[in-house]
């Protein structure tokens, strides 16, 4: 029991500290006087964040990439999972092997980059939404789910009445697969929301940068270069506010996920559980 109190404290305290730090007087925070509750209530950091154009552009870009990327992923994954769930699919084992193999071996960073470049997708959002479109893991859990919930006989019965796969897919499979679709949507939204590396490699224009790259510049790069990157001008103010802004950014960037996740927790857990049945 005691150990759990300790564990939850260790997990929660850093997040709590950021929260109180963001609302406190930056001078008191940097002197280490704020650690249990907020002191010298202060919203300047947030004001600066909300008035900064790049952050909003980043937010908007992330939402666009997450929405489009997730839509593509779900469409590809569910349709393929349905086909692969059918035992009578010719070449099923070969296809499964070829797909699973990519989980364990891949071309690597450089050949992938060169391919994307030759396809003309560098500095476009297509590199970000198409490259991670299908996850082998998600494809396998979707297939497992469909196999377990929709018996093949159901289709045979429907086909006697003249139903084909397409009609069956839209009338039966999609409605019955809502739980697994939710799982895949959530995994993809979280992935797109939190990913920074593909954007770092493939995007050049500031206008295209997702939130995580803006964050990287504010939270991490500023440590070495003192925030002179032009995000926040006015040097005197900036020094004082820099810390406050960082605390606020952590909250602004993480809150949507942290607030949503407890309500959706069961779907995430379900996803991992289905995966564990047939890893």
């Amino acid at each position: 029991m005691l150990i759990f109190v300790l564990v939850t404290l260790i997990v929660l305290y850093p997040l709590y500290f950021i929260l109180i730090g963001a609302f406190s007087d930056p001078n008191l925070v940097s002197r280490g006087e704020v650690w249990l509750y907020p002191k010298g209530l202060n919203f300047d950091g947030f004001e600066r964040i909300f008035s900064n154009g790049y952050i909003w552009t980043g937010y908007r870009n992330t939402i666009v990439y997450a929405a489009l990327g997730t839509a593509i992923s779900v469409a590809l994954t569910i349709t393929a999972a349905y086909a692969l769930a059918r035992k009578d699919l010719i070449g099923r084992n070969v296809i499964m092997f070829a797909i699973t193999f990519t989980m364990f071996f891949s071309g690597g960073l450089i050949p992938t980059y060169l391919l994307v470049r030759e396809l003309g997708m560098v500095n476009t959002m297509w590199a970000l939404v198409l490259l991670p479109a299908v996850s082998v893991y998600q494809l396998i859990i979707a297939r497992t789910f469909i196999q377990a919930t929709i018996p093949e006989e159901l289709f045979e019965a429907a086909s006697i009445d003249g139903c084909n796969h397409t009609t069956f897919f839209f009338r039966m499979v999609l409605p019955l697969s809502q739980a697994i679709i939710a799982v895949i949507v959530l995994f993809n939204v979280v992935f797109h929301w939190n990913s920074y590396f593909p954007a770092l490699i493939y995007l050049r224009d500031r206008e295209l940068q997702p939130l995580q790259l803006v964050l990287r510049e504010i939270l991490i790069q500023s440590q070495s270069s003192d925030m002179s990157g032009g995000y926040f001008e006015d040097t005197a103010e900036q020094q004082k506010l820099a810390e406050s802004i960082k605390y606020g950014m952590v909250i602004v960037a993480s809150l949507p996920m942290l607030v949503l996740y407890p309500f959706l927790q069961k779907y995430f857990v379900k996803g991992v559980m289905i995966g564990s049945i047939k890893g």
Partner: protein, 297 residues
Amino acid sequence: MRRKLTRQYELYVFLLPTLLYFALFQYGPMYGIQIAFKNYQPVKGFLESPWVGWSHFIRFFRSYQFELVIKNTLVIGLYELLLFPIPVAMAILINQLTSSKFKRFVQTVTYAPHFISLVVVVGMLYIFLSPHTGLLNHVIVGFGGEPVFFLGSAEWFKPIFVLSSVWQNAGWGAIIYLAALAGIHPELHEAAVVDGATKLQRIRHVDIPGILPTVVIMLILNMGQFMNVGFEKAFLMQNSLNAVSSEVIQTYVYKSGLQSAQYSYSAAIGFFNSLVNFVLLVIVNAIARRTRQASLW
């Protein structure tokens, strides 16, 4: 018969976009690995660039960074392997909780950091570990110590790297073992209680054997990523002060490949990395199969 074929055709239409995806974005780069054995020239493309054999590999093995990046990669990989049992232990402990409300609370809290991005986690490290304003250094100074510049020091890089990963992922990693524990037949526990087994004995003789196959599978999958050592995070935490300790194979590939445009050279290093991972996976899987544990194939 004809109807059956039409149906196959229909299923293939369902599959087609995904097959194209794998052919283009997964097998395309694999085909592109050939540039590791060539001198890639952008104008000539993958195919027309001249062959140079193993020279890029030899150059890497002889370069002065070779020893450093291999050592860093292996040490971080080993640290991560040492911490592999933590989620397993967490699952076993959480499973002991009797109050389901408290259990759910612990789970919700410990899963949460998994949903925070790497950029934010590393940003938080900078905030907490800052030499002048960071909370940890205030505590150290408060106890009469000297402030430590944790993120600018080579010695501290690895411990901070792995421990913050534990903070972020230990709870989430426990889910799969909790699922395995839930699958253990309650009769086994009942029988053990009748035989007078203590709590610890039940963990030792019922829980652990019950989840062993899952543990083995996870271990095999981990070994297949052994050399990748959370590279996106290493990259974020890296700076000129800790580079001796934080330069791993993948960050080196990124720098020599994308920043200095030595495509063939870095593709060779990347290929070497994937190959080692793959061989490790095959070996560990073979050992697991030999010892009649669960295995991937």
